[in-house]
Symmetry: C2
């Protein structure tokens, strides 16, 4: 080996080791800032308890747009702007009624229900009908083909599997009932749908969430029922085939309304055209305060940029915090963001979403691109000391998914999932369910990975 | 290589692989049982909300002894018995008063305080004195040597460090003030001690916990103050050296009282004389319900044996669930258990404690013995799929620590620590703070490691 080749080799080893140790030190600073001087918790407090729920098209959503713009300006980000987008405007209306009417055992019995998002309402007349319980699509089909569902209310009662370790997998195995149950039942002449709430525990409150109506099928009203009441209804149905159920909902779909994605950025100093997105969705369901879904993701994204500012870090690339509008019932914000990125030929080198709650960090979900994945995994030694050990799953998040066709590596912040579905889409999703340190650790974890991507890219 | 050597090598490889896969399958069964048919949550509900707080010597402690004996008998464990032990009997008495008396800014201001465990009370006369704030022992010593503490109340206000990742490390860096503050101040003639609560967040409620009086030093009364009020008091003291504080506590130490460790066991089928202990402490502080500290550890230990029974597992070794009495203010149960083990020449091959709350499992703390440690770490591939990735720390737990001189390998269940000190020793340590799945995952994790130790030992 020639002397200068040896020198270069030694130098490169030195620089690598130096890089590693200065990265280690900077990541430590990120965590110190988040844990000792963090602003995430007080920001989330305001978003949840002063502004409150933020369903697309609602006054709360409009207030949250104005406030997140304001707060990002106040933190002194380089630019902050609103990206207009038209959103669906569904309203729940008067409190729903769910009632078992003529149980042999209990007579009349109120149960806790709520309309599913996007559902048509029953109106004041309500729907009164016999109930048929099903646990699978095959069962539904068999009953439907025997004409046993005509004029009936179909009760989808397949629970989330408690044996799965990852709660999102458990959710994924049951949420098809909520998404498609109404239309699938309507195909066979059913007049309403009741869906077991997407909660894994016995609970007294229902979980809302979107349904999708299929084209050319009558739109029938659909409600979620609290898991305890789903169990009760199922028990009663066992020897009471004449049992009737009354549902009354006053929800309706209004004309689309104007709204916005809210974007704040720190301009890159070396590669300003290379954009790294970190985001969550600003809209929420109307029943709680949208704390874990997804106030935490929005606030953590703002906090990532605030931490960089506070530490005097000048990013090489442009780092954007994006509050997407309308993830819950339309994804219009995510779609519009990707459309504008394409129109403007913006070069996004990475996008990270936080939409799994503000719980203790466990790791990140990975891009599908093997090279990007490998690069992120090479940083594990820098991240593991902070409890970030899970780099095994793929995926990004709903809002950033429309960027996939542009080849953007997508990833997700991966917190502990055990408590998420206690709160998701329920009146329980409130600020007091978020732990200050868990929230802060999430923001710091996200900042650490964004920092490494900013430093080294994903190529 | 001779043919029969090759054969033996292949056979041993086969047996190892077979062992691994049958262990994998059995551990999966343990988790399924805990998550789908677990009894931990309903047991904990009873212990916390029906029985409630269980300070040593209290009626609640006596009730919990009877109830855990009953529940272990009902689960059909092979033997269940009580091990008598005399315990300290400290009582809090009437609600404490903490009052800033003559603040220049606020005049009179009530603050939230509680007596520290083992403290003498002030009685109805209370203690009224000027306050001197200190953040370190050096500061205390310097002031004491200048005779500046005589007749004063010393206010220990060194916070838990929020920058540490492991909350027990943060606690460890501050709890010396609570344990030793009263006597150290009394050495210099102080008449009372106020200790900043052992909580990392801004909180409105105080944290109790034990102090230790040094020999031959006057016993002065000591209280904990809520972290928010510690900050307030510190702020006021900045330019108000004449500020006085009034504390009134009615606690007292009564004569020792009879109580019990509660023990249930499954008898070993191959090595009945080899004992594996899994336990927590049954006593708790009086302010909350002793949910995370340490109802969860007791219930998880019972659940470990219940799971084995439910799965029809016949352990090779004897597995004991031990509910230790009096961890909080005396450790008498742990000491007596170890004394009896030595007297009876029992052979304990391992002891595991769960006393860090019922949160999502992260791993286990390790025995100091390198061989035992290495053996446990060799099982990581079987445990990591359940999120058990942290095997880096050493330690067991307070109750099992008296077994150390007998050479017993000690280990601890290691859950996520972020939320523990929101609840620890406070009125907030109640059943509703425990998540069902997190509790169940903890029980299953403990059962998995106990199973492996039962199968393979730690030698």
């Amino acid at each position: 080996m020639k002397a200068h080749a040896l020198f270069i080799l030694l130098l490169s080893g030195y620089l690598q080791a130096y890089g590693q140790s200065s990265d280690e030190a900077f990541i430590r600073k990120i965590f110190d800032e988040a844990l000792a001087r963090g602003k995430a918790y007080e920001m989330l407090d305001y978003l949840c308890t002063t502004i409150g729920p933020r369903l697309s098209g609602s006054p709360g959503a409009a207030a949250s747009v104005e406030w997140t713009r304001h707060i990002m300006q106040r933190h002194g980000f380089d630019s902050v702007w609103l990206q207009p987008v038209m959103v669906p405007h569904w309203v729940r209306g008067k409190k729903e009624i769910g009632r078992i009417v003529n149980s042999k055992k209990l007579g009349m019995q109120e149960v806790n229900v709520c309309a599913l998002g996007n559902s048509v309402g029953t109106g004041a007349a309500g729907v009164l009908a016999n109930v048929i319980e099903v646990k699978s699509w095959d069962e539904l089909k068999a009953l439907g083909e025997k004409n046993a569902l005509r004029g009936k209310i179909v009760f989808y009662n397949r629970p989330m599997d408690p044996k799965l370790l990852q709660m999102f997998a458990s959710y994924g195995g049951a949420v098809d009932q909520r998404a498609n149950g109404a239309s699938e039942a309507a195909k066979y002449g059913a007049v309403g749908a009741i869906v077991r709430s997407m909660g894994v525990n016995p609970e007294d409150y229902p979980h809302t969430g979107s349904l999708r109506y299929a084209l050319n099928v009558p739109k029938i009203p659909a409600i979620a029922i609290a898991t305890r009441h789903a169990d009760l209804l199922s028990e009663l149905l066992k020897d009471d085939k004449d049992l009737k159920f009354y549902m009354e909902t006053h929800c309706e779909q209004l004309p689309d309304a104007p709204s916005f994605n809210v974007i704040g950025e720190l301009k890159g100093t070396q590669f300003p055209d290379e954009i790294i997105v970190v985001g969550g969705h600003l809209d929420s369901w109307d029943l709680g305060q949208g704390a874990h879904d997804d106030g935490t993701g929005c606030i953590q994204s703002i906090e990532v940029l605030r931490i960089f500012k506070a530490l005097g870090y000048k990013p090489k690339r442009t780092i954007r915090a994006v509050m997407f509008m309308n993830e819950e019932n339309g994804l219009r914000g995510g779609v519009e963001y990707a459309r504008q990125a394409e129109l403007k030929r913006e070069k996004h080198i990475a996008a990270m979403e936080s939409d799994r709650g503000g719980f203790t960090p466990r790791g990140f979900t990975m891009p599908t691109d093997p090279k990007a994945k490998e690069k992120i995994r090479s940083w594990k030694p820098l991240l593991e000391p902070y409890g970030l050990t899970d780099f095994g799953q793929e995926g990004g998040g709903a809002d950033i998914s429309p960027l996939a066709p542009q080849g953007v590596p997508l990833m997700g912040f991966l917190p502990d999932s055990q408590r998420y579905f206690n709160y998701h889409h329920t009146p329980e999703d409130t600020f007091d369910k978020v732990d200050k340190r868990e929230l802060e650790l999430g923001a710091a974890s996200m900042a650490a990975l964004i920092y490494l991507i900013d430093q080294y890219g994903l190529k």
